[in-house]
């Protein structure tokens, strides 16, 4: 739920309750006022009646006709003594409405020429009931229009006032740390939004800069490591030429050389990764994948032969990919070499090019629990100590660079990597 909708709903609810309460309050106040007014009226009438009786002391006192608003009864002395003047609400039958309607009645007593009388004067309360109805209706109307107004306001604010906020949000949603251009955040006259945008702009810039530095650092470090490694490798190459080398020395030298070569390969792989991440393989061209896959399979035939592997190449469709030719060659080579390295002797490898994907499937030695982690850096599945754990990470980097989708599945006893282009 949007913040604005929520705040509107809450305020609408509060207003709704407040208005209902105020409706009751107004009704209570008004009805109190009306009752006071009516009571006053009744008192007035009482005085009128008593005055007219006093004015004509000799006229006989009798029960008035039908059309009057009061009743007179003679009562016993005991009843007279018990009767206290009071007002009360009573229902009375109304001829027009044909139903009982609430009335206000003043009950009082007086003595005229030694006779005890009870006087009851009544007045219709209909006005008050109508008034309550009117109040309730108008309160309802006010509530309804306020609700409509607040939702209209909500909509309008969403459209106008919050526009910079939503614009910022949509930019942030698509923001990636390695994007080339900075965010273009909207300007706003609202203090909070301006501050938010400034903070976001600052934060993204700082992060982008840190990311750039880090990427540059890896590349520079790899470059710097290259020279001493090259010198060390050249020295071992020169040392093994010596005819005076003892077997023990040669073994030590062999081990030294292996480690240096491993270090060198690691360094080159890191350099390649950072170059891919730094997008230093700019030029793209149309790469014929079928040709590339076939060429790579041919090229590594010797390895398959050496390990006694059976390699099968199935090409169904032509796939042209717009990418750096060099990187595509690295991608295909890494996939095929990965399969060649990890297939047990005597196993089979099936390379299939079809429906805009390349699938490489090989006999697996065991099932892996989380095969997708193999795309991570320095993740090794193999028992071969030689593996750097960067081959598939490079594949993943290249896929990320061009928006390809790599996946690993394990259909019974086999291991399959598929790249969807």
């Amino acid at each position: 739920m949007r913040l604005l909708t929520r705040s509107t709903l809450i305020s609408a609810l509060v207003f709704f309750m407040a208005l209902i309460a105020s409706g009751f309050y107004v009704f209570d106040q008004v009805s109190q006022e009306v009752k006071d007014e009516i009571d006053e009226e009744l008192q007035n009438r009482k005085l009128e009646i008593l005055a007219s009786i006093a004015a004509h002391p000799n006229a006989p006192i009798r029960q008035p006709g039908l059309a009057t608003d009061f009743q007179l009864d003679t009562i016993k002395a005991a009843t007279y003594a018990a009767l206290r003047e009071h007002t009360e609400d009573i229902p009375m039958y109304e001829l027009v409405e044909k139903e009982y309607e609430p009335h206000r009645q003043l009950v009082t007593r007086f003595i005229h020429k030694g006779t005890y009388y009870r006087l009851r004067i009544h007045l219709s309360l209909l006005d008050l009931e109508d008034m309550g109805e009117v109040i309730a209706l108008s309160t309802g109307a006010v509530i309804a229009s306020l609700l409509v107004l607040s939702f209209l306001l909500n909509f309008f604010l969403q459209q106008r006032l919050w526009r910079p906020f939503y614009s910022t949000l949509s930019q942030l949603r698509t923001f990636t740390i390695d994007q080339a251009d900075a965010l273009r955040l909207p300007t706003s006259s609202v203090h909070e939004f301006t501050e938010l945008n400034q903070t976001i702009a600052w934060l993204t810039t700082v992060n982008q800069r840190a990311y750039q530095h880090q990427k540059q650092f890896v590349e520079n470090a790899s470059h710097e490591i290259q020279t001493p490694l090259a010198i060390a490798l050249h020295q071992t190459e020169q040392l093994i030429q010596s005819p005076a080398l003892t077997t023990a020395d040669a073994q030590a030298l062999d081990l030294l050389n292996q480690q240096l070569e491993r270090l060198s390969a690691l360094n080159r792989a890191l350099l390649l990764l950072s170059k891919i991440d730094n997008q230093q393989f700019g030029e793209t061209q149309t790469v014929d994948l079928v040709a590339l896959v076939r060429q790579t399979v041919d090229e590594y035939e010797f390895m398959a032969e050496h390990k006694g592997l059976h390699v099968q190449l199935l090409t169904m469709d032509d796939i042209d990919v717009l990418a750096s030719e060099h990187l595509m060659a690295v991608l295909v080579r890494n996939l095929i070499r990965n399969a060649l390295t990890h297939t047990p002797a005597g196993g089979t490898i099936t390379v299939q090019v079809a429906s805009r994907s390349v699938q490489i499937e090989n006999t697996a030695t065991r099932r892996l629990d989380q095969p997708e982690t193999l795309f991570g850096r320095f993740v090794k599945q193999s028992d071969t100590a030689q593996s750097l754990g960067l081959g598939l990470a490079i594949v993943k980097s290249i896929c990320d660079r061009y928006g390809f989708t790599p996946s690993i599945t394990q259909p019974e006893n086999r291991f399959r990597i598929a790249i969807q282009f």
């Binding site: 290259q226 490694l229 190459e237 040669a250």
Partner: protein, 226 residues
């Protein structure tokens, strides 16, 4: 042969020049742009190795001047950058080869010899190693003028051995020379053994024993019959 090595890293400059001297060349070194420029202006060389990133200037400018003043001098770019742009620019300016760092000395040796062969013998592309003759233009091999049929990889292997005779070549150098850049994985180089076995077989069928021996498991050495 007289070579000039333009390389600003003293350690690298030292090992490469020592190696080139051990191969019977006269090798001079320059470690700054200024030095390189002066030496090229004063002396003539058979082949110049140029590092592109130099203190004081870009190696490409030196290459340009070299090819203007001494078009007969061979030039190899050795660059740590391994960028396609530099490679194309260098070859455009007349560089004869481009070797990305780090490289094996055996590889450098093979490249230099190939250039010197072309430069010195006016395009003669024949390489004689004992009874064996390699026509590097036609990529064919003869023993006693009898052609030996080799596939591309076998030929590449043989050429590296022939240009580095009596030297131990590391297995990794052989693998990289024939199968290209191994940037991302470290393999066991066992497969080289079977490749060499095939190569020997080709020659023994023609009645020639190719003397390639393994040395302490580090590499292989070709000792021709001369």
């Amino acid at each position: 042969m007289k070579l000039l090595l333009i390389e600003d890293e003293p350690g690298l400059s030292q090992t490469i020049s020592q190696f080139l001297q051990s191969q019977g060349h006269i090798c001079e070194t320059a470690i700054t742009y200024q030095q390189a420029d002066e030496k090229i202006g004063v002396y003539a060389y058979d082949c110049v190795l140029i590092d592109l990133m130099l203190p004081g200037g870009n190696g490409l400018a030196i290459l340009k001047r070299l090819k203007q003043d001494h078009p007969q001098t061979g030039a190899i770019i050795i660059s740590a950058k391994d960028s396609l742009d530099d490679k194309l620019a260098g070859l455009d300016l007349g560089a004869d080869d481009y070797l990305p760092k780090p490289f094996h000395l055996a590889e450098l040796n093979s490249r230099i010899k190939s250039i010197l062969r072309r430069m010195k013998f006016e395009g003669s592309t024949s390489l004689d190693v004992g009874r064996m003759r390699i026509d590097t233009e036609a990529r064919t091999v003869f023993v006693d003028e009898q052609p030996i049929s080799l596939n591309r990889k076998e030929y590449d292997l043989l050429l590296l051995f022939a240009t580095n005779k009596n030297r131990v070549i590391k297995k990794s150098a052989l693998a990289e020379h024939v199968w290209g850049d191994q940037a991302d994985q470290v393999d066991s180089y066992d497969f080289i053994y079977s490749q060499l076995k095939n190569l020997r077989k080709r020659f023994s069928q023609a009645g020639y024993e190719l003397d390639i021996q393994t040395v302490y498991g580090i590499g292989y050495k070709f000792s021709p019959d001369c």
